[in-house]
Symmetry: C2
């Protein structure tokens, strides 16, 4: 039996757990529970698996690669979708890629942002499904409902025939009365969004159900290019692909669909309620995360995310408060679904925190702006071992660098020199310069920018390790 290939879909934004999750660094990459991010957990969850295949967008490629490396996953292929086209094209692209390598590949498709604490039970179950997978069958994984949840889709099972039970129908997110009826009925499971199929057979199915989509996806794969260690789908071909969900195109139309019920806990970490459920609760039903204190509160969530920030609550009842250095959300917990609406409104108002985090990630590490005035900005730059910023110049700002940790290799004009901790240098407006970390330890620099304009677009790049334009 061939190894199973985890296919990790890594494109979501997790808006319902804003302000923690933002477009610039969404929840699948955050250390929400445990030492690994949900993405890292998804990539490593299945034991005895083939190397995972990651489907992601341009903006997350370096984060995904870095997190794979940090989790010890060295051979994963990462396919870059030039634009988001929903799940069906992404999964077909994965199937094309896998079927070309090995026609018998079994794909286990998983969203990158779920939490499944018991990986060994998960592995046991997935292997059982693989052992019973019939020809052209799609096996989805259901979760026995614990509550009348209105935030999930449901799977109605037919009579049980075998290990894998045929699916009678899928239901979209229900209203509360329907969810209560589903819970009482007993033949409904939550749809985990995880499923398994043989790659080559999925392509056969697509040839029948979605021939145009399949054709366009195949072209995008055939004309894909290598970009560093990523596989970049051809953007012109990919632009022709129609955006559609896998549920819509395949789940609702395929005839051979089975379901296996999860026998261990699962969460989609979909909103603050889901996240709170995974945390320790005190005797009054409160969840306190980080530096949080409360008096006389009930069933409330106080989540302080930043070092040096204290969050306090008095007399709260069923309130959630999430505090970060640049954004705070306070809401009735019953309104957890409406966080998305708030993010939409903030985006419409041009509020930067709707999309961007204080810490901005780059392929070489990250930076954080710690002071921002009209006359100067101050940043912390963190350069990973081996990280190299582009050779660049600025038209509107000078930069002072003070090394506070590690050893920097600095190129300035025609010079190249080392700068140790507690040494500094100055980059004049217009000077070509480059900052590299040629050591095995982290490099940290305080950068003081002075000038008239500090936008990230005031960079002229001459050379870049990461093929950025």
């Amino acid at each position: 039996m061939p190894k199973i290939t985890p296919v990790v879909l890594c494109g979501g934004i997790g808006e319902r757990i804003w302000p923690l999750s933002r477009k610039s660094y969404p929840k699948q990459f955050l250390n929400l529970i445990g030492v690994h991010s949900p993405f890292q957990q998804a990539a490593t969850r299945l034991a005895d698996a083939a190397s995972p295949l990651v489907m992601t967008g341009d903006e997350y490629r370096f984060i995904a690669r870095q997190q794979l490396n940090d989790a010890g996953v060295v051979n994963a292929d990462v396919i870059i979708e030039p634009e988001g086209k929903n799940t069906a094209p992404a999964i077909l692209a994965a199937a094309c890629h896998l079927a070309a390598e090995s026609p018998n590949s079994v794909m286990l498709v998983m969203p990158a942002d779920h939490f499944i604490p018991d990986a060994s039970e998960f592995t046991r179950m997935v292997k059982e499904a693989a052992n019973h997978l019939s020809v052209r069958q799609i096996v989805c994984f259901g979760v026995a409902p614990e509550r009348p949840e209105t935030g999930y889709g449901y799977i109605r099972l037919s009579e049980k025939e075998n290990v894998i039970t045929p699916v009678a129908a899928f239901s979209e997110k229900p209203d509360l009365a329907t969810a209560e009826a589903f819970l009482a009925d007993g033949s409904y499971l939550w749809n985990s969004g995880i499923f398994m199929m043989r790659a080559a057979e999925l392509l056969e199915l697509a040839a029948e159900l979605q021939p145009e989509m399949l054709n366009a996806v195949q072209q995008a794969i055939l004309s894909s290019s290598k970009d560093l260690d990523f596989i970049r789908l051809n953007s012109l071909e990919w632009s022709r692909v129609e955006a559609q969900s896998f549920d819509c195109c395949f789940m609702e139309n395929a005839t051979e669909i089975g379901c296996l019920a999860f026998t261990s806990p699962w969460s989609d970490l979909g909103d603050w309620q889901a996240l709170a459920r995974e945390k320790e609760v005190d005797s009054s039903g409160n969840v306190l995360h980080g530096h949080a204190h409360q008096i006389d509160s009930l069933n409330s969530l106080l989540w302080a995310e930043k070092d040096g920030l204290v969050l306090t609550g008095i007399g709260l009842n069923n309130i959630m408060a999430i505090a970060m250095g640049d954004a705070v959300l306070v809401a009735d917990r019953a309104r957890a679904q409406d966080v998305k609406t708030m993010v939409t409104q903030l985006k419409a108002k041009g509020v930067s925190q709707a999309l961007s985090c204080e810490r901005e990630n780059r392929p070489w590490g990250w930076f954080e702006t710690i002071a921002r005035t009209e006359a100067f900005h101050v940043k912390i730059l963190h350069v990973d071992p081996g990280g190299r910023l582009s050779l660049q110049s600025h038209e509107h700002r000078s930069e002072h660098w003070v090394v506070v940790k590690g050893i920097a290799t600095v190129v300035r004009g025609e010079e190249e020199f080392l700068l140790h901790a507690n040494e500094s240098t100055y980059i004049h407006i217009g000077d070509k310069h480059r900052l590299c970390n040629n050591t095995d330890d982290n490099l940290e620099i305080i950068e003081v920018q002075t000038g008239t304009y500090f936008g990230e677009d005031d960079i002229e790049r001459f050379l870049d390790e990461y093929s950025r334009r």
Copy 2:
């Protein structure tokens, strides 16, 4: 008729409007409403007045002097109480000081943290009181109650005889039922804590009612010393003074007490409810201050205090949320009084935000720590025109200075040199150094400290303009 001297009592901490008000920079100095702080408003409120006399503690002397200067008050005497002794000794000290200068002085004693928007009506009323002030009379100012307030003391009036009505009794903060009865009764006023008396007559009264206290206070005044432009009470004599409230010692025992009712709005800005009352309310009863957004909320207060921080609320009802960069408070508005309890608990737990602000004030300006790690700290230093840091050295840290605004005069070892915007220098561990702003413009510096210990106590001072030890 002599001019009236405003005596401003400036010692409170305003714990009930934490996290905005903290011990290191309490509410009387904050720009809560309008362009001036409550302290500045108190010092300038009365038209045609003598120069104000300010009673304050050691830790607020420079803030008070700076704020007086900024408000254009140049001749105020500022008396430093070496330790807090409650209101009676502070007011007696003021009376001693004023009576010595001019025996007919009329004192108008005011807490520094109140809000009285109509200064001209206030002036009219105070002058009317002064015109009718009888011998040895204490005139207090009452406020017609607008609601059954449990946070204030009350004054019960006798039958009206004249412009000034005799006081029948004072009541401590009542419970709600009593407050409702007071409101219905009509002969009760809120006690504003402001009162007027002739300084020399107060001393006569004190000689009868509090001879020991008066004696000790007189000794502290007689042996006071000049410290820069402050008057510092003798700390040994002052330590002998018993701490007591003016209400307890005098209001409850004096026979000649009259009251004039305020005919214009007044607030003690005593808690978040009081502060919210002075702000604009939307059609759903919400108050939004700073960068705040809400969805479907009622009667809630969202107060974002920091630039670059967005505060958002969803589905809130009668909730208050106050967000700063280092501390967030979320509370049921009915629990506004319990903010003090939270501060007490945070103090007991050693949480620095209970007492200290992000921005720390110094006689030469202020600094703010914008990054704090084990290996380095980064600060913004703001030096006022003419400001001079002490000549100092550090045992455990080096400092890099980058001037981002203005011109610095730097002393380093034996050298003295100018540093313009966009220039930098380095102070090695142990180097004697000094930073001065000898210009008429502000000076701003980014200071990167590297080392092993960054406490404010790692300063050896050799010379200091401000007589700090």
